[in-house]
């Protein structure tokens, strides 16, 4: 199972990729495998303010529906409209074509994106998935 080293992760099985103050968000391959075939993704609207740890959408699979949590604070600038036509991209390419939304986050003192302090590295996230079985 793939857990790209360059991404940051949450305990809710989201990944975050940061460029400047723009954070791209999706769910991990582990999450996608646990959910099974994704049939519908409900995403926040562009312009919505999202809060780290709060639900901002839903991921519906054949067997279940799960809340989608925002991993960061900020404003949604873009959503992956491809998922409307092909939600299976979440299963097929969770870290690339299956991305879900982008958030403009605040800057920290160094001008970098201000991310919540409790985000996980790839190694830490791998530990989490292993202990979850």
């Amino acid at each position: 199972m793939s857990i790209p080293a360059e991404l940051r992760y949450t305990t809710e099985h989201e990944w975050v990729s940061v460029e400047g103050t723009l954070a791209s968000v999706g769910i991990t391959e582990y999450a996608a495998q646990q959910l099974g075939d994704v049939v519908y993704v409900s995403l926040p609207s562009v312009g919505t303010a999202v809060t780290a740890g709060e639900p901002c959408g839903e991921v519906e699979s054949v067997k279940s529906v799960s809340d989608l949590y925002s991993p960061v604070d900020g404003e949604v600038t873009e959503v992956n409209t491809e998922l409307e036509d092909d939600p299976s991209l979440v299963n097929a390419e969770p870290y690339t074509a299956g991305w879900m939304f982008r958030v403009r986050v605040a800057q920290d003192g160094n001008g970098d994106a201000a991310l919540p302090p409790d985000m996980l590295s790839a190694a830490e996230y791998e530990e989490l998935t292993k202990s979850a079985g």
Binding site: G36, D37, V39, Y40, S42, E58, E60, V62, K63, V65
Partner: protein, 347 residues
């Protein structure tokens, strides 16, 4: 993998949608060894089952199967069952895994006055199902049984790939197919032989998730969803399994007779949704905005390409003339009443 009634079960092997489609168009291989097998045997076995179950089992010919139910004295459904008459005096009763202990206990006490022995044989059997339009052609070269002569809901003893098995033309997918009951020690060999023989025809292993969407499309009830102790077979539209005209008394007869004569207080219906969101177990159904019932099972239908659901509606809802909606986590989604089953195979 998932925990299911005390068993570790494969929820899916890969994509459950692909597994579902394989069963509809080629074949799928299921490990159903969790199902309960209870042997009822002896000169009075048929009469014991006539008394214990709703069906007329002593009237079943050897080599045939029957879908039936076991009810409590108040008519409530304790389980839905498939019964195979394997011989003149041998009946194999197949129970849902979660209900096996209850069914075994009830059969034991209900058979007490008959010349019949009741044995929980669950640990003596593995169950492998091969389901789909290609199932017969995959299975035929592996066995000397004449599958062409084997009707739907019939079964026979025979070797499959050298493994002795009870081979029955039954299933829970809405497709043609077979269920193979064998010794647990032989199960791996049988599975591998079927997988190897079926691979070129498109057979794939299929898990519980696909099994659930397949049975839902086929309009088949699932115990715990559409069936339970708080309802009789009549609410589920399955009153036909209750054979009032069979000889002798049976457990639940007075309550079931009263229920059969009264108009049911609820009705099991099919719903389709023009929506991306899925109506799931427990979601409320409204008729003209008024609460009218509850979804019992729901899933995105791979065959129809839209969400489908079964739901119980109260009889006074007059659903046929009302605008139906389902409450999906705060959103009101229109639903269309649809005849069950959602899918039937072309024969």
């Amino acid at each position: 993998m998932t925990s299911f009634a005390g068993w570790q079960m494969p929820l899916r092997y890969g994509s459950e949608t692909a597994e579902h489609q394989a069963v509809r168009h080629a074949a799928g291989l299921f490990d159903l060894s969790h199902m309960g097998e209870i042997m009822v045997s002896g000169p009075g076995a048929g009469q014991a089952l006539d008394y214990a179950l709703t069906g007329f089992l002593s009237g079943l010919r050897p080599g045939r199967a029957r879908y039936t139910m076991i009810c409590a004295a108040d008519g409530g459904v304790l389980d839905d069952l498939v019964v195979y008459r394997q011989g003149e005096q041998e009946f194999l009763v197949i129970a849902n895994a979660a209900n096996t202990a209850v069914v075994f206990g009830e059969l034991l006490s209900r058979a007490a006055g008959f010349d019949a022995a009741v044995t929980d044989a669950t640990d003596d059997y593995a169950l492998i199902a091969i389901q789909g339009p290609a199932a017969a052609s995959i299975l035929a070269p592996l066995t000397e049984l004449d599958l062409d002569a084997m009707k739907y809901y019939a079964g026979a003893f025979g070797d499959v790939a050298g493994v002795p098995a009870w081979v029955a033309r039954t299933g829970y997918t809405g497709e043609d197919g077979f269920e193979l009951y064998c010794r647990p020690a032989d199960a791996m060999r049988l599975w591998e032989a079927l997988a190897a023989a079926g691979g070129p025809a498109g057979l794939v292993p299929a898990g519980l998730a696909a099994r659930d969407t397949l049975r839902l499309e086929a309009g088949m009830p699932l115990y715990g969803n559409e069936l339970g102790p708080d309802m009789t077979p009549f609410e589920a539209g399955l009153g036909r399994v209750v054979k009032f005209d069979k000889p002798g008394d049976f457990v639940g007869r007075p309550a079931l007779l009263a229920r059969s004569l009264a108009s049911p207080d609820r009705e099991l219906v099919g719903l389709t949704l023009q929506s991306r969101r899925v109506a799931r177990h427990g979601y409320p159904v409204f008729a003209d905005g008024i609460p009218a019932g509850t979804v019992t099972s729901g899933a995105p239908s791979p065959t129809l390409g839209q969400p489908i659901a079964m739901a119980y509606l109260t009889s006074d809802a007059d659903a046929r003339d009302a605008v139906l909606t389902v409450g999906i986590r705060g959103e009101v989604v229109p639903a269309q009443l649809t005849d069950l089953p959602f899918y039937s195979r072309s024969r």
